[in-house]
Amino acid sequence: MTSQINKKRIFLVLARILIVAILVPAAIFSGKFGNLMGGYGLVFVLVGGMAMALLSFSGPEIAAAFKHAAGVPGTRKEMRKSALFWEAAARNAWMLGILGSIINLVIALSDSVGGVSGIASRMANSFVTTIYGMILGVICFVPAWKLIEELHNQPLEEDPDTLEKPVQRETATLRFENIIGYIVFIAITSWTIIRPSLSMSSPQFQPWEWIIYWPALLVVLGGTIAIVLFVGNASTGRPFTLSFALTGLIGSLMGFIQVLLAFSSKNIENMASAVTFIISSCFIALLGIMLVGAPLEDRIVKSERTNKHSTLSRVIWYIFPLVTLIFLVMTFVLVITPIKKG
């Protein structure tokens, strides 16, 4: 009976893979989504997603998550961990999409080939990475939902493991895989930033110059440290997520108010300065959430020191990138909209 169910599951998984394998090339070769094809954006989201998975989970845990997603049964504890993995993967893909869009938007601004029209077109294309992140996020959410549903349906009996063996709680410290994850993530992000400047004949500015926009960096980091000290309990990761998001938001709003003031006085110089502050604040805050807040909280939940991610952190992980996206669109509109004078 069990083997029959397993066979059925395997067939179902194979059928789904087949459908995806037919649909994806069909979409690519139809030529109707030509503007949405940006090979490197997809590579960034995929490799970055893998690196971010390693920040929070170990190799065997990732392998188990894939097995459980394919229908292989597991203990309640394992299934819970796998559901956590897929949920984290979905969240990471969404945030990576937005991070990629910020980087691509700035790269678009640094290359003047094709005049203003060329820059505007490249800026618009930078949002394609967000679509990749969103699609990958939805794909990762499917197994998470499935596993959570299975967990709800399972009876609440205790695992034989916990009955026979003494309970060993995992520590939330850094593992070898986590360090590898950090290295890969920093490498792919740096390469994404540096890569276009190597191919450009005469870039307007080096793309990494804007990342170290000291005012935004100081405000976001200083604000984060202050809030974490005030809230306390930093090892759980929650204060980091909250404080990075808050300071990023404060920085963005400061910039936004400056933009409005510059608009009323028709001062383009102040507007440009404010736009830089907004983009840099969002970038640094998002990077902080991705590298510190989210992985710390994942490790804490995984080690069963808490049952689940906090609701506030979840809201931040999805809303803050959305706010960043809105600010990016605003930047795009600001750059390509002319100032009307008498």
Partner: protein, 291 residues
């Protein structure tokens, strides 16, 4: 020593047999965990004191007071820097693009344009052009040599005429692409504001933008990638109206010695000044052969 009674011994054995020390696995593991934690508490202070000595400096840096003070300093410094320090490279680019977009938009929606053009010739003289354009789309180009008009080009929606005032002839041309006279070629990209705006928006690559302190002006440097030799264009714009005041066109090269050697063209603009529509009617200006 007190001797135990045989009855007690029997009860003791019986109790040992009945109440065996085999706890359920869960309780046993919980007990073991408690014991392990208890032992750890005793061992930890010793370990901690050893690491404390090694990481004393880090503890000092990570003290709450130090961190709180440094965080406040960071925030204040960040805000002050943002208010006072020079703009970043990204801000410069945003400023440059937005100004360029505003200029091209203003040029596109202008009512009339007058443009005087000077093109240096090989003999050290200047070939002068006067371009007049009025909305909706009427252009007149006069080519002047020694203060006399040699040729005139009229472009309107319906017709294109070229008049040679020396030979006293005028002929009709079917389209702008058919204007093959080399005399008109240097100014073909400045025949109308829309043409100029399109080039600014789609073709010329912005290389630099500098706001000039005096008289609210800004200076753009563009590169024309389609032009032979990839010419450079320097445009001065009025930041009150966002309209160009002048354009200088240069041919760059490794042997640039002075501006005169590389200057290809110089244009001066006057915008939205009333222009009589009568000058847009094609007619030959009769000149005596002596002149």
């Amino acid at each position: 020593m007190k001797k135990e009674k045989p009855l007690n011994m029997k009860i003791d054995d019986l109790l040992k047999q009945v109440l065996k020390d085999d706890l359920p696995p869960e309780s046993e593991s919980r007990m073991r965990r408690h014991f392990a934690q208890f032992r750890k508490k005793f061992e930890q202070p010793d370990q901690q004191s050893r690491t404390n000595v090694r990481w004393q400096w880090a503890h000092w840096v990570l003290r709450k007071e130090v961190l709180a003070l440094s965080s406040i300093i960071m925030v204040v410094l960040g805000v002050i820097m943002h208010m006072n320090v020079q703009r970043s490279a990204l801000a410069e680019t945003v400023l440059m693009l937005r100004t360029s977009v505003s200029v091209s938009d203003q040029v596109r929606h202008t009512g009339s344009m007058e443009c005087s053009v000077q093109v240096p010739t090989r003999d050290g003289q200047f070939l002068a052009y006067s371009i007049q354009w009025i909305s909706p789309n009427m252009t007149r180009v006069d080519v002047q040599k020694a203060n006399e008009i040699d040729k005139t080009l009229w472009i309107s929606k319906e017709d294109i005429f070229i008049a040679d005032h020396i030979k006293n002839v005028m002929h009709k041309v079917k389209g702008v692409e058919q204007i093959k006279d080399p005399l008109f070629q240097p100014v073909m990209e400045f025949l109308s504001p829309v043409e100029l705006a399109e080039r600014m928006y789609r073709r010329w690559q912005i290389k630099q933008y500098k706001p000039l302190a005096e008289q609210e002006r800004g200076s753009f440097t563009f590169k024309d990638p389609n032009h032979i030799g990839k010419s450079l264009l320097e445009m001065i714009v009025d930041l009150n109206t966002y309209l160009p005041l002048s354009i200088k066109k240069f041919l760059p090269g490794p042997t640039i010695v002075s501006e005169e050697e590389t200057l290809v063209m110089q244009l001066h603009f006057t915008w939205n000044k009333p222009v009589s529509p009568q000058i847009m009617t094609p007619k030959i200006k009769k000149r005596s052969l002596d002149a």
